[in-house]
């Protein structure tokens, strides 16, 4: 599989002496949906800044689709779309103008720029706002505008730095759908996010960065397989609770209130066994949820381990 991004021994020390990146190496395959996770100040945005040339690196090499970003500036930038963490468009310009202007920077003729702008503004639900000044947009709309702007030249690699921060759940889900579709069409996506559920839902591979170093770089599946146990909360009918408690006495289970039971399933175990037991006892389960986000627990474990 060819690589979309290859980072070798990347270092960045800011003028104030802060060492943001301590020689990280990373590869992202073409067509991947890749998560870059880490706490605040871990080096995620600096990494993205270096890839997109907004941050001057202190050492190391970056290749985009096999081309060095220093020697193939035009080609690598053409392949790259960046959605930054903070709003970075002119708040006094019209929505449509922002996207069309960005297309112009990539050399797209006006008619094509207009076509692409229309396409992405429609897809991202901003069509009705296209003639509005961008400052009048809501937070979620501003983020979608930045995605439309990053896509207008149709890059092969899209980097999103916390694109759903501060976005409501409904909108976040629709952005997920959009990104999944985009990835399905072949666009490689690198995502940083604070919502670990988002990374788990969307990404196939993951790197965890902490204190300027990569502490984990693996597939999402492998990472989740490291989980020792999962805690499920089952809601049952009030009348069934005593039966449920009794039939789960051989499991690591405890009642939480008059209709909820918490069950811990160890690695190698199966929630199916719990359900089979409950079904045999004639207990009706009305709902089930993970008590904690699985990835969240692993994330914390990784970061604790790296300290």
């Amino acid at each position: 599989m060819k690589t979309a991004i290859s980072i070798k021994n990347l270092r960045k020390t800011y003028d104030n002496g802060f060492e943001a990146l301590k020689g990280i190496s990373l590869e992202v395959e073409q067509g991947d949906f890749f998560a870059l996770l880490g706490p605040n100040g871990a080096g995620k945005s600096t990494t993205i800044g270096v890839i997109s040339t907004l941050v001057n690196r202190s050492a190391g090499e970056v290749e985009v689709f096999g081309r060095n970003v220093d020697t193939h500036v035009y080609e690598t930038k053409l392949d790259l779309g960046v959605v930054p963490q903070e709003v970075n468009f002119n708040l006094f310009e019209r929505v449509e103008d922002i996207v069309i202007t960005q297309a112009g920077y990539y050399g797209l003729p006006r008619t094509l720029a207009k076509e692409r702008s229309d396409k992405y503004l429609r897809q991202l639900g901003l069509w009705d706002k296209r003639r509005d000044r961008s400052r009048s947009l809501s937070g979620g709309m501003k983020r979608r505008l930045m995605i439309a702007r990053a896509l207008v030249h149709e890059p092969r690699l899209l980097i999103l730095d916390e694109p759903t921060a501060g976005v409501d759940i409904e909108l976040r889900r629709s952005m997920w759908d959009f990104l999944i579709e985009l990835n399905g069409q072949g666009t490689t996506i690198i995502l940083t996010t604070h919502y670990l559920e988002e990374a788990e839902q969307l990404c196939r591979n993951i790197a965890i960065i902490d204190n300027g170093a990569i502490v984990e770089n693996t597939s999402m599946k492998s990472l989740l397989a490291e989980i020792d146990s999962q805690v499920f909360v089952l809601d049952v009918l009030k009348a069934d609770l005593p039966k449920a408690a009794l039939c789960l006495k051989d499991f690591d289970a405890r009642t939480l209130d008059d209709q909820s039971i918490e069950v811990t399933v160890r690695r190698g175990g199966s929630i199916n066994a719990v359900f089979a037991q409950l079904e045999n006892a004639g207990v009706v389960v009305t709902s089930m949820r993970n008590k904690t986000n699985r990835l969240e627990q692993l994330f914390i474990n990784k970061l604790t381990g790296s300290e």
Binding site: S52, V82, G104, G107
Partner: protein, 257 residues
């Protein structure tokens, strides 16, 4: 980047710049017109009548080229410094920096944007001056060339100011404490031949003195400076400032971290 792509990118930057200052025309085009109109009324008309002749011309005729040049210098400078700094401040400059537009295209785009505003204001002021003086242009080629070069030089100077500026105060310090005194002492309102030799020598160190006087030569056919020497100075300034700006862009000074 292909030539055609560069052309489109360049046009995009220029159109964006022109759209910016046109959108806020009440802030960008009207105030200089009012200020210069007041200069014409007060200095040219009221005071000028008592001054009589300056350098062999009616005082009003004498100050018209200087006032046009003053407005071009100030507006070329302030367009680039305010536009580039605003984009830095709002971080919208990142739109350009992540794109494949070469540095020289970015720089030339901003400079042409600055020239567009400088020359637009210059045209407004020239039109206004027709109400106050009978304008004749003795050397049109020199007039046009010097105004274009001056506009380039001050657009580039504005760019450097914007690159180093960290706050909105920083973009007003240079125009207030450097540019305005140099313009006023550059012979806009008087002929340096009126000055004692020492102050004539001091005036010769002021680059704006050469620009104002060469432009005046283009209008009136009379100047306090050698026109060839003035063009040489302008050319050196334009080339070295352009090179300096490109160096700053390449190193990411003030824009890349």
């Amino acid at each position: 980047m292909y030539v055609n792509h560069k052309r489109i990118a360049f046009e995009t930057i220029v159109i964006k710049e022109i759209r910016r200052f046109s959108r806020i025309w009440v802030q960008t085009l009207v105030p200089p017109a009012i200020t210069i109109a007041l200069y014409f009324v007060i200095f040219g008309n009221l005071v000028g009548r008592r001054v009589g002749e300056m350098g062999g011309f009616q005082y009003m005729e004498f100050i018209v080229p200087g006032l046009i040049m003053m407005s071009v210098i100030q507006n070329s400078y302030s367009n680039v410094v305010s536009s580039f700094f605003s984009q830095k401040f709002q971080r919208s400059i990142e739109e350009l920096l992540v794109s494949p537009v070469p540095n020289y295209v970015i720089l030339t785009g901003f400079v042409v944007g600055g020239m567009a505003r400088g020359l637009a204001v210059g045209a407004i002021v020239t039109t206004l001056s027709l109400f106050f003086a009978d304008i004749q242009i003795a050397h049109p080629v020199i007039t046009v060339t010097v105004i274009l070069l001056t506009s380039v030089v001050f657009s580039l100077a504005g760019f450097i100011n914007a690159v180093y500026a960290n706050s909105f105060d920083d973009i007003s310090i240079v125009p207030t404490f450097v540019l305005t005194p140099l313009i006023y002492l550059g012979g806009v309102f008087y002929s340096t031949q009126m000055l004692p030799p020492f102050w004539q020598a001091v005036s010769a160190l002021n680059p704006i003195f050469y620009m104002v006087n060469t432009f005046r030569y283009g209008f009136l056919g009379s100047s306090d400076v050698d026109v060839i020497w003035a063009f040489l100075i302008l050319g050196v300034f334009a080339v070295s400032l352009y090179g300096g700006c490109l160096w700053l862009l390449r190193h990411g000074t003030g824009i890349r971290f």
